[in-house]
Amino acid sequence: MGFLTGLFWFVAVIAACMAAGWLFRTIAIAVTPKGVKKELRTAPLTASFGMMVIIIYIIVAVFAPLIAPFPERMVVGPEYMPWDETHLLGTDNLGRDMLSRLIFGARNTVGIAFATTALAFLIGSILGLLAATVGGWLDQALSRMVDVLMAIPALIFSLLLLTIFGTSVITLIIVIAVIDSTRVFRLARSVALNIVVMDYIEAAKLRGEGLWRLITREILPNAMAPLVAEFGLRFCFVFLAISALSFLGLGLQPPMADWGSMVKENATLIAFGDITPLLPAVAIALLTVSVNFVVDWQLHRASGLKE
């Protein structure tokens, strides 16, 4: 019977998610301008659901102080309080409001992950496109440098660097961005290598176009589809990396609310059968899955257009 009930709840949750996705898509199509409308119609339910979740996360992150019932760092009651009316999700190991910290955590974790991914892409794609376009010794120098960086396991390497440079938010962003930019570099370079052999690049070179224009107008627009897809995936990896580092104590430092460290701080409760400490983990999982839904849809569209 327990299995059947579980199955029932599982199916019910999936159905509810899909219904929410459908509802979101219908509303979105109604309110958006014409061009976007046409694209939204092609979105499957999974992608609509993903977009909905991402938008909710963004709203929560931006308006965290307005939505959260209590401040991020205030001790509001005894430790490990159960769920009740004032503290909807109870309190944590220091007596701070769990729901409020979850909401502020969205702001910190998602915001920092986004900044890191953006920086990683800025560094990685510019250098990657440059290496592919210029070629020769520059390509060799950059590629070998990237090989060396990639030879060291990412988590160990970031632990090492964070230990050396300290654990401020800025260092965290720079360290993870540099490590992740090596992956972006490889992708951007290999995509661009296929583009630079096209006749239109030869035509642009013969026209006398400068390097900057060649990269931004001729190569980048054609490399966008794989880079956008990679951005989505990379965002998830960075997000998980930050949470993992926080869990290990080298990421965001207390008392800043962060989903990774929230799991760690309240891990004791798991032993008592309370699911509260797992909620931040669920928040991470939900966002990761949603981002991937949207990326899948975009990838499908990009590959479909090529036919």
Binding site: Y200, A203, L206, G208
Partner: protein
């Protein structure tokens, strides 16, 4: 049906065949009710432009459609078997055994991981027609009949170890393996050089006659179909235009569309007066030797191109035509020799040339698909050179773009904001021309600009280039392997082979004997519209 059939029984009939293709989630009809009758031992030529439905109809003769297509109506009866109702097992048993298919690109259709012989034996052994040893003996026999070199051992090579023409013949031999009643040839010689094409055509015709096999021969080349087919059916956008036996079709076509197809090869550029001896050529190639790595691809190449003149550079693939273009544009600095432009030496590397030097020499590419950035709109594609070289901005730039679109005969309002993907092949090539014109050059290199296009569309492009030449006093270097194009557009011809210039001179001299033996071979290999041409030529070559 009133065609001559020499009293032979009917092999294949199609009645009211309709085929639908799927695009953007909806089915649309691409073949609108085609009737077709084929008798035993007869060769039917299917011709039409791309998109006419030739290949789709050809494949339907096997009861097969490509992915995303379906047969929506009509009937297909092969030797009494209704292919529309037949089970997959029945059809599978027919395919390869009684109906065979020869694809356009043998190089892409052979499995590169297996030897020719293994691939040959697969069908007869699978279908239980003969045992492995018997099949191998049979293969050698067929290879010999197909006039492949060293027939005893060629089967033990891998596909990459034989040439394109040989592969195409090996594939035809493979199709004959089970002695099918019907073979479908889908543009088997389109990807080959003219000199190789002859050998393949002769071999195919020979073997089809010997075994009295019926065939459907699909092509867009009229002269080729004239050699191969007993009867010709002309298709246009999935409809039949007309059908008649080859001779009457060639001499007295009834429909306007067929006449226009026949007239394509009639375009010829008016004879130009000889160039004054003291005139400086626009481009002059002097003693160029160039190559990649240690290998010389070009050896001591010399020729001049004058204002308002077209120089056609002809030769087989690998003869160094395109390399010459790369040397002139500065992409490949030569080892020796120099390029003069208006009498002044150009820097060998394009990166050292001034913007004005770059502007003066423009290039039009063979594949318009890869020559236009797919993410840029036409406004930017052709506006960029005008903006860069002539400094046009804002309204002046827009006016210039519209003016260019008018020149290439595309409606400005309709096309200015389109992406390349929203254009047909011929329109893309026109945009390529407009991009070259936008720089207001004196000299344009046309690299096989018409070889990827249908004949009617190619004709339009050639006429356009001709018109623009007189209007803007342009000099053209026209790279091609198609001698019909040379006849249509050139003033002077340069024949190249293995990196050397074999013969050069005015067009009128080039098409008049005596020739260099290689030029002779090239010239005589161009198929003509006369159905007896191949027979006569082969007889002549044998006796000669």
């Amino acid at each position: 049906m009133t065609e001559q059939n020499n009293g032979k029984p009917v092999l294949l009939t199609m009645k009211g065949l309709r085929i639908e293709g799927r695009s953007d989630e909806t089915w649309s009809e691409i073949v609108h009710g085609i009737d077709l009758t084929l008798h035993k031992g007869e060769v039917l030529g299917l011709i039409g432009e791309s998109g006419a439905g030739k290949s789709t109809v050809g494949l339907a003769a096997m009861g097969f459609t490509r992915d995303g297509c379906r047969i929506s109506g009509g009937e297909i009866v092969f030797d009494g078997i209704d292919l529309m109702k037949a089970s997959e097992a029945t059809k599978r048993n027919l395919r390869g055994k009684r109906i065979a298919y020869v694809a356009q690109s043998a190089a892409a259709s052979f499995n590169p991981a297996h030897k020719l012989m293994d691939q040959y034996c697969e069908a007869p052994v699978q279908h239980g027609v003969m045992g492995r040893n018997e099949a191998e003996g049979d293969a050698v026999d067929l290879y010999r009949r197909m006039q492949l070199p060293d027939p005893d051992n060629i089967g033990f090579r891998y596909p990459h170890q034989v040439s394109g023409g040989q592969l195409q013949r090996a594939m035809t031999a493979m199709a004959m393996a089970c002695r099918p009643d019907l073979i479908i040839f889908d543009e088997p010689t389109t990807a080959l050089d003219v000199t190789t094409q002859i050998e393949v055509l002769a071999a195919i015709r020979n073997i089809v006659e010997q075994f009295d096999t019926a065939a459907i021969y699909i092509t867009h080349d009229l002269a080729v179909v004239a050699q191969m087919a007993d009867r010709i059916k002309v298709l246009l956008k999935g409809d039949e235009v007309e059908e008649a036996d080859t001779r009457s079709m060639l001499s007295t076509p009834k429909e306007d569309y067929t006449k226009s197809l026949w007239a394509v090869r009639s375009h010829a550029r008016a004879e130009q007066p000889p160039v004054a001896a003291d005139k400086t050529p626009v481009v002059s190639v002097k003693n160029i030797t160039a190559g990649y790595g240690a290998v010389d691809v070009l050896m001591n190449v010399n020729f001049d191109i004058h204002e308002r003149r077209t120089v056609a550079v002809v030769g087989e693939s690998g003869s160094g035509k395109s390399t010459t273009a790369r040397v002139i544009t500065g992409l490949l600095p030569p080892r020796q020799g120099e390029i003069l432009f208006d009498g002044k030496v150009l820097p060998p590397d394009y990166r050292r040339r001034t913007r004005d030097q770059l502007r003066q020499a423009q290039m039009i590419y063979q594949m318009a698909d890869t020559a236009l950035n797919p993410k840029l709109r036409i406004r930017e594609l052709i506006g960029r050179p005008a903006q860069m070289y002539l400094g046009l901005q804002g309204k002046a730039l827009t006016d210039r773009i519209r003016n260019l679109l008018d020149l290439i005969e595309l409606e400005p309002d309709d096309y200015i904001d389109r992406l390349p993907a929203e254009l047909s092949g011929g329109q893309k090539q026109r945009i390529g021309i407009a991009r070259a014109l936008a720089a207001e050059p004196k000299f344009i290199i046309c690299d096989e600009v018409t070889s990827a296009l249908d004949q009617l569309v190619a004709e339009g492009i050639l006429k356009l280039l001709d018109k623009l030449q007189t209007e803007f006093d342009l000099a053209y270097m026209f790279i091609t392997h198609d001698l019909a194009t040379v006849k249509a557009i050139a003033d002077e011809v340069v024949v190249m082979k293995e990196g050397r210039v074999i013969e050069q001179g005015p067009k009128s001299e080039m098409f008049r004997p005596p020739h260099d033996p290689y030029t002779e071979l090239l010239l005589s290999s161009v198929p003509e519209m006369d159905p007896d041409w191949l027979t006569d030529l082969l007889r002549e070559r044998e006796s000669g």
